[in-house]
Symmetry: C2
DNA sequence: TATCTTATTGTAATAAGTTACAATAAGAAG
DNA sequence: CTTCTTATTGTAACTTATTACAATAAGATA
């Protein structure tokens, strides 16, 4: 399972959906950075495609999320952020200094495994942000 | 540390802030249910206090969160939800059937302890929602 | 290539959330 | 109780997000 815009495009088509310039533009933008808010994405869109509208942006993000090509995440502030579904990764965010740090997948995988065996629940979270205090600020 | 509206009110005063009817109304509403969106809270507010405005609602929620009396949470849809800071508790939400389930604090505490010792990060998350598949839908 | 179906887009109106600033009132002081 | 300070509220304007529906165009079919 790959995740370049072109590969996602053909997957979209093979799922019976239609591939449009609007969807392609959004995928192109998402493929170049992560943790983008709708406003940030829209700012980039209107540069390239002057008439691009908000409803299309929000609907498309929704569509891409529902079909697993994009993941929506929260990082503490109330704003949604979007990124292409990539390898599982997690962050810590320090409430004191704001520093973000990537958490190794191994640690989280072990924790997830244990959680799943103890609860019978199958986790599908691929991107979790944990808030607290970093070692320095603690 | 208690969390009834009256007790929070006196804490707010003793912290040098002012206690207002608006803050009291919001605390009263939050003390009666959990997982409330701003829109839900506002709907209740305008019934009781006809002129209650949105800026005051959002500012007050922000204020109560920053001072630890209220916690803001996400449950998968993009909407923020608010509730009085109570004992730590966590949920699973099934992507298939939508069922929500409370996760025992003991399990999470052990997992948190391990996470903290392995990363040096001090978690302050008191309310985490984990998405995936419940035992039935798995 | 031309035609057809309908998924997807844009338009227009609305709702939710934010910001800047002047008016108000909580609570301290006299 | 009255006065004073300033934290907190409401007003007004704006930005971000959502909804309903008519116009468009992707891609299937002939
Ligand atoms: Mn990330
Ligand atoms: Mn909860
Ligand atoms: Zn820190
Ligand atoms: Zn289920």
């Amino acid at each position: 399972m790959e995740n370049t815009p072109t590969q996602i495009a053909s997957q979209i088509r093979s799922m019976g959906f239609r591939m449009t310039p609007q969807r392609m533009e959004i995928l192109a933008i998402l493929s170049q950075s992560e943790h983008l808010t709708p406003t940030q994405i829209h700012a980039q869109l209107v540069c390239k495609v002057p008439g691009f509208t908000e409803p299309t942006l929000y609907r498309t993000l929704d569509f891409l999320c529902k079909n697993g090509f994009v993941q929506a995440t929260h990082v503490g502030n109330g704003k949604m952020q979007y990124e292409l579904t990539d390898s599982m990764h997690h962050h810590t965010v320090c409430k004191e200094c704001g520093q973000r740090k990537l958490i190794s997948s191994e640690i989280m995988q072990e924790i997830y495994d244990r959680f799943e065996t103890e609860t019978g629940f199958k986790l599908m979270e691929h991107h979790l942000t944990l808030n607290g205090l970093c070692p320095d600020c603690k």
